[in-house]
Each structure stands twice: as structure tokens, then as C-alpha cells.
Symmetry: C2
Subunit: 222 residues, 2 copies
DNA sequence: TATAAAAAAAGAGCCAACTCTAATTTTTTG
DNA sequence: CAAAAAATTAGAGTTGGCTCTTTTTTTATA
């Protein structure tokens, strides 16, 4: 007992936030981020426009909340993947990037992710920016978990700095996610190949001789 | 002879464009990109606001032109570096990234680069976006040139896919340039170390045994 | 030099995010 | 249940990028 007693005021607050986020989520998905006016969101949420500003300082701030919700709700799925990855490291990384992208697109739509990716540049220090950094750390942690598994399996040199490697792989993944989001015409296949090339090179130096991939493509002359 | 005769009309056009770009460059450097209003630019350039829009469809479009000017004017310096890089590959990459960053900051200022880095996300398909892609290709070419030199020196396996490697290094560089530009508080030293860690791992697998670095840090447990 | 073509300038106006202030309503508290 | 506290709401206003139309000026051409 003594579970924190929530007053009516607080309950209303949470309810309203829920309404606003729900409305925003639907409208963003439907009409896109830019063309959705805050007035609209307020209208659908059955709330005054000023109230939206009361809870969220920015339009981008609403997106922050949605993104946070997404990150939280999809955590278990990522975690499961990472604890039992495919046997081939390169394939495992590709698969994880694929999972991340699928999860991302499932909830927010490309235009929203564009805004999120642009936030560090347009609003440095904003909540959206900080949220992005933290999400990066989370992914890095997932990769560390994955890499440790590979180490236990003997597919990775024992003396590799897992932290640095996870950092690099996260960077590569983030870079390519950015390309995917910004380029409408990029095929998933091209992207997959690009990631493969880069991850292959990355792994080349840190795998024990016998586990090293033949590196088709990497060692082939162009 | 028969050198293209430029009419008065064309000469005026070029002159005006020069005035506008000059004014924009000064004002962006002085007051920042966001706070510089197009009206101001017009005023300083002694031109009507409507005329600015006549030559540049966007505010961002003005930035495109400035960036293009920068890329062109600093090409020789980059080219010189790349043709005679430091003996250590990792150091060479670090040095080139440093050169790129220095060149960048020399002409445009952090805030402008933020806008440029955000362009692929906010205005996909825009001139600024395309310009960024092309600049990426240029850097990749520089790296290919550098890597070929290392190959000739025997510091790189003969059968490495130069193209893929240059692509990866460019990606790493771009990623870190983005971090540098977006994070006000990041020290150049931290950044340098991060780049070093990543490039070290990258090179580990593609260098001949005897040329391989001791990889201090990479092979150390964290 | 007169006429046609092209470009620049003036100026009004749209749009949507965001701000501010002054009610009005709701919730808490004594 | 009344007074105090807190939040919602209405509504007017600001800002700056951008558009559009019309007039004026400049340049090219016959």
C-alpha cells in the first residue's frame, strides 16, 4: 500500500498528455509532421491550442515524447535479438540494423525521423537532441552485449576493446540510418550492401584467423 | 578569340550575385545564420529583397552557393595533403579530418554548418542536399588517392578494396564532423581520440602484419 | 533612336509557429 | 461550502520566410 496517491489534478494532466500524444501520433502518421498544425492536434485532442503549449514547449517536443515512447516500448524486442544473435557477426549486425529500422518506421514514419535526425543540428541542446544521444548509448549497449556473446563463442579476439568496437558499429549504423531516412529512392538492398561492406572491414581486424570471413568484395579489386 | 562575349546584362547579374553572397557571408559570420534576415542581406548588398529571391529560391540556397564557393576554393589544399600524407595511416586520416574541419570553420562558422548538415533531413532533394552528397564524393576521392599512396608504400594490403575502405573512412569522418558541429562543448581532444579509436579498428584488418599498429587502446581491455 | 524584352523594385499579403495577457474553469484545502 | 491555488482557455499579436502582382528601370535590338 502507500502507493503514491494520485490526485485528480495529476490524473487529468496525464490524461491530457495522452490525448495530445495520441492525436499527434495519428496526425503525423496520416498527414506528415510539417503539414500537421498544432491547432489541428489540439482540435483532435479536444483541448485548446494554448494547452498544447502548456505541456510541450515545441512542436519538436511532442515528437520527443513520441520517440521516447517508441524507444521504451520496443526495448524488449531489441534485447531479445541481441542476446541470441545469428551466428555470423556481420549478418548479426545487419540484422540488428534492420530490426532498428523496422521498429523505427513502424511507429513514426520517415518524415518524423528526418526531423529527429536533424535536431542535433537545428536545436542543439534541446530535449530531442539529448534524447537522440541517449538512444545512441542504448544501441551501443545492445552492441556491447552482442559482441560479448561473440567473444564467448570465440568469434572475436579476446583482447578486443568491446567498447570501442560497439561505438564504431553504432556510428556506422547511425550514419546509414540517416542515409536511409534522407534518401527517398535508396533501395533497401543497396543500403544492406553498403552496411555489409563497412561492417566487414570493421570485423576483419578483430576476428581470430580461423573465424575470419573470406571477405568477398572487400578483398576483391574494384 | 571568340571568347564568349558577355553582355552587360550577364555582367550585372554576376555582379549582383557577388554582392548578395558577399553580404550574406559577412552577415552570417557576424550575426549567425538564423538571426540574419533576408531583408538585411538585401540592404547590405544594396539590392531589393525581391531581387534576392530572384537569384536564390531559398535562404538555404544562399548557403549552398557559399558552401560551393568554399569547397572549390579549398580544393588545392586538400589535394596537396592527400598526395603526400604523413607516414602513419591513422595519423594521416586524423590529419585530413582536422584539415577538413579547419577549412570548414575558416569560412562558414558552426551555425551554418549545422544548417548544411541538417539539409539532407529537412530538405531532401534540395540543392543543399545534393551539394552535400557531391562533397562527400569528393572527400571519398581524396581518401582513395591517399589510400593508394599507402598501398604503394606497402602499408596497406595489396588486395584491399580501396573504394569500400575510402567509403567507410569518409562515413566515419562525416559522422564525427557532425558531432563536432552539433556539440558546443566537445573538446577537440575528445573528438580526436574518438576518431583515432575508430580508424584504428578500421585499419587493423587491412594492413600487412608487419605494418600493423600495436593498437594501443583498441586491444586493451576497457 | 524607338520599340521590344528582360529584369529589378515596391509593396501588399499569406502562413503557421510561437508569445502574452486576461478571463474563466477546475481542483484543492481549510 | 467558501476561499485560494492552479490550470485551461480565448483571443489578439508578433515574427520572418516566402509569394504574387504591378510598376519602373534597364538592356538589347531593329
Amino acid at each position: 500500500m502507500a502507493s503514491k496517491v494520485i490526485g485528480l489534478r495529476e490524473r487529468n494532466r496525464q490524461h491530457r498528455v495522452g490525448l495530445i500524444l495520441g492525436a499527434a501520433s495519428r496526425l503525423f502518421a496520416q498527414g506528415g509532421y510539417d503539414s500537421t498544425r498544432i491547432e489541428e492536434i489540439a482540435e483532435v485532442a479536444e483541448v485548446a491550442p494554448a494547452t498544447v503549449y502548456n505541456y510541450f514547449t515545441n512542436k519538436a517536443n511532442i515528437l520527443t515524447a513520441l520517440a521516447a515512447r517508441h524507444v521504451y516500448s520496443s526495448w524488449a524486442e531489441r534485447s531479445a535479438y541481441v542476446q541470441n544473435p545469428p551466428s555470423d557477426p556481420v549478418e548479426a549486425v545487419q540484422g540488428f540494423e534492420r530490426l532498428l529500422a523496422d521498429q523505427a518506421m513502424r511507429t513514426l514514419g520517415r518524415e518524423c525521423w528526418r526531423v529527429i535526425m536533424a535536431a542535433p543540428y537545428l536545436q542543439p541542446g534541446s530535449r530531442l537532441h539529448r534524447a537522440g544521444i541517449i538512444f545512441g548509448w542504448l544501441i551501443e549497449r545492445h552492441y556491447r552485449r552482442m559482441l560479448r556473446t561473440f567473444q564467448e563463442r570465440g568469434q572475436l579476439d579476446a583482447d578486443v576493446d568491446i567498447r570501442a568496437l560497439a561505438e564504431l558499429i553504432t556510428a556506422i549504423g547511425t550514419y546509414h540510418f540517416g542515409r536511409r531516412v534522407s534518401d527517398e529512392n535508396m533501395t533497401l538492398d543497396t543500403l544492406k550492401q553498403d552496411i555489409e561492406r563497412h561492417v566487414l572491414i570493421t570485423f576483419l581486424g578483430v576476428m581470430p584467423r580461423q573465424a575470419r570471413p573470406d571477405a568477398p568484395g572487400v578483398l576483391a579489386r574494384h
